[in-house]
Assembly symmetry: C2
Homo-oligomer: 492 residues x 2
């Protein structure tokens, strides 16, 4: 895999000084076009053998490109706020928006690769980590990102020489300040792990390019030209809508679905309701104050038909909770900062810290519900969302977050009654709009979307609970009971 990259190249200073200024002008120009177009972000990952000057490459990128539109990220130890959240949170925090360039030295590859080189992880774990990164990059690419990954390579002898040389100058010593892999002592292990990494994670949408780094002129020109060509080519292509190759789901032939299987006549008497509600509210309060909860957090997702009672249920959940411990998020139209990022970005930024509860009144499922039915995104977008959402919830779950999801189901008659009642109430925020009535006309399409959602995203890490919500008392008690039971189960 490193055959070409171990060939030494012989580009001299004269040729470099002749070509470099022109390359720089062209790079700045194409970056200008990128900024103006604001169509996609560029993600550059650099990694390499110790001593190859990976950080130097980054430094150079920053002085060659317009640094004001470059986000650089280097892997420091995670901060406290980062370590309280899923592993990938720190990378989501620093993704470049559309039009900008993100340069990652010390990227999502650093930890898996270092772990493997130092033999802290075995091949199977390594493979699993790389697989997750492939899915992450596939998502970025599907969201439009242009991803280029450079592996800077050196032969063993060359590496020895360079590590020695760099260490001697104050101007360059930061380039090799740390040698976490042990320098040339572990050359073989590093090469082996890197080869494996590149083989598994070189994909059509995020390829690795191995570059010989012993000749700095060769290295700079090669990387520069690669970036230039990639951005230029991408800018010259019209924006395309991804094609869907997946088979179309067939709705249940006899209309028997997880929704029609619900017994919506379930109900609770007022006295019973009051007693049980209070019981579970108290239990929830105790759970949130328990010692074990300090290392966990909870994400509560509320989805449901319009007027199914999400707001009322959320109010009962928070009624006796310490307001310092929870946050209710309403998912409305994205801001322009959110629109410049992958779809899930606006949810990643709201992931709760340890010891906290985050409540979502509507959620990331908007993509496979309203956006699917109303055609607000392409079919390819909502189809890939199921997998991306599963990955997202899996990552939360692995980080100790308890993810609990509710679909509040009412029938069409009940909805009509509630709409009519709302039209008479004095609460402005309950006002029924034209849109609400319009959505009702698509009742069956929404039902199909809900059934697909439940089938495709009810995982053991984050199962759906369907709530019979024609009777509000029954619904609220079922919700609180489920929350308590699932938290208890996970705190065991």
């Amino acid at each position: 895999m490193f055959e070409s990259a171990e060939l030494e190249h012989d580009i001299d200073k004269t040729r470099f000084e002749e070509e470099y200024p022109r390359l720089r002008t062209e790079l700045l120009n194409v970056q200008f076009d990128l900024i103006e177009a604001k169509r996609f972000p560029v993600i550059l990952v650099a990694a390499g053998m110790e001593g190859t000057g990976v950080i130097d490459t980054l430094a150079r990128a920053n002085t060659v490109l317009d640094a004001r539109h470059v986000v650089t990220f280097a892997l420091d130890a995670p901060t406290e706020e980062e370590s309280e959240r899923p592993h990938m949170w720190r990378f989501w925090r620093v993704l470049p928006p559309k039009g900008e360039i993100g340069v990652y030295v010390g990227s999502w590859y650093t930890e898996p690769l270092t772990g493997r080189i130092l033999d802290k992880s075995d091949t199977a774990e390594f493979e699993q980590q790389l697989d997750a990164l492939n899915r992450f990059e596939a998502m970025l690419a599907a969201e439009g990102a242009l991803i280029l990954k450079f592996w800077l390579h050196l032969s063993k002898d060359e590496q020895k020489k360079r590590l020695k040389r760099f260490g001697s100058s104050t101007r360059t010593k930061w380039r090799i300040e740390e040698s976490p892999w042990g320098g040339s002592k572990r050359y073989k292990e590093a090469k082996h792990a890197a080869e494996h990494m590149m083989r598994v994670t070189s994909t059509e949408h995020a390829p690795w390019l191995a570059v010989n780094a012993s000749n700095q002129y060769y290295r700079s020109l090669t990387i520069g030209h690669t970036i230039l060509d990639a951005i230029r080519t991408r800018l010259s292509r019209p924006e395309e809508t991804a094609q869907v190759t997946a088979p179309v789901n067939v709705p249940s032939l006899d209309r028997k679905t997880v929704l029609t299987a619900l017994d919506l006549s379930l109900n609770l008497e007022k006295d019973d309701y009051k007693k049980q509600l209070e019981k579970y509210q108290e239990r929830l309060n105790e759970l949130v104050w328990s010692k074990k909860f300090k290392k966990r957090s909870v994400v509560l997702v509320f989805e449901g038909n319009d007027a199914a009672g999400k707001g009322g249920a959320i109010r009962r959940v928070i009624e006796f909770l310490d307001p310092r411990r929870y946050r209710v998020n309403q998912i409305a139209a994205p801001t322009d900062e959110e629109l410049a990022q992958p779809y899930l970005w606006r949810f990643w930024r709201r992931i709760p810290r340890r010891g906290h509860v985050a409540i979502y009144d509507r959620s990331w499922y908007g993509r496979v519900l309203v956006e699917r039915v109303e055609g607000f995104c392409s079919e390819a977008d909502w189809r890939r969302a199921y997998g991306e959402i599963n990955d997202f919830e899996q990552e939360m779950s692995e980080a100790g977050i308890i993810v609990i999801k509710f679909w509040l189901a009412i029938d069409k008659d009940e909805q009509q009654q509630r709409f009519k009642a709302r039209e008479e109430t004095g609460y402005k925020r309950y006002k029924i709009t034209e849109e609400d009535w319009r959505n009702r006309e698509k009742w069956d399409e929404y039902a199909d979307a809900v059934c697909d959602m439940v089938d495709l995203t009810s995982t053991s890490a984050a199962p759906w609970t369907l709530v019979e919500a024609n009777d509000k008392y029954h619904a609220r008690v079922k919700i609180l009971k489920t929350i308590c039971e699932q938290i208890e189960e996970k705190l065991k």
Copy 2:
């Protein structure tokens, strides 16, 4: 000061249950109007004697109001990321955007008040802290925020009773989990400090309201009605432009100014330039890697005439710096999230962590330069900006951030030559636009604005350095030398 607040009130459950539902409907309706109008944020601060149920009040606010549009903030210990930045950063992080309500229990008052009650600070320090908070709130109010501050009061006997009662129930014990002031043991000190705080920080735009808290019905109805009236009144008033009462600055009568006093003929030979540049680049690199720097950070502000060479100077500053340690920020048009916040918010969010350098290509000074000259903000807005900027830089400075500011000055002829040269270059980002030529016509107005800026914001915490920039070599060396010297001075 607590005369009324020590009167016990006698509102019974019957009256409460009669009035409360109507109040809640009205509050939700007015909140709906607030969200729709998106004209201003509402900031509610709650504080009070221990045992008054301040947090309970917050909890209630969250269940009465539409919690999805309420930001609640409670003072936990600062996180690592917070403690690496100026004291007020954590509050700026959680300011509600326009249309939303922020509820603060444990606010910017908590630390000063607790410090005074426990006698960790003396009256003078306390006074100084409160003074800074007054300026903070004056800024928020000038930016449009509606601020209401509630002090929940109790007599000493009542406090004793309540602390005992709360502690006995699991449902309520979190209300008094901690008693950092020592409960009724320090009643007198708490009352005394609170009185002082309220006297000093009850301003026309951010008044304190003391409420007797012994009767929960009285408390809830009083606070609810106060909030309702305040938001309703404010919404019913048209938006007004603040009047300027300050005297108008008279430009220097003989046109002798800090700018005309510069010797723009200063220059450097190429050889000398290369030698000196390299010297200071190396020194800067060493400074940033020094042990002492780990606890500090640097903010570099670059302002100057169009085409004065800011970009080129910044490129020389970062040329040999470790890219993991700096970030170049370009201040362009604010995003919609930034527009929904006070002017300085978008700069607060970019304050560097310890050990890092943040470089600003244009900065918060836009307000008193381009926005002033082009009339993009009201006169009142840019006039108050001088003081707000001084406070902002003072807070950075107190947190150990070294603030270094450059004005790059060229003369009108030099600018013309550079514009013409740029029109011929191949760099798209240097393209000279109509706007650049238009700005040139306002040369004198910009000069007046620059002189006022230097006079009003050159402080010992953050002095301006004027750079003679007709000769780029001279300018770059002066900038690097100044940066090195000022960092060295501060690290001593």
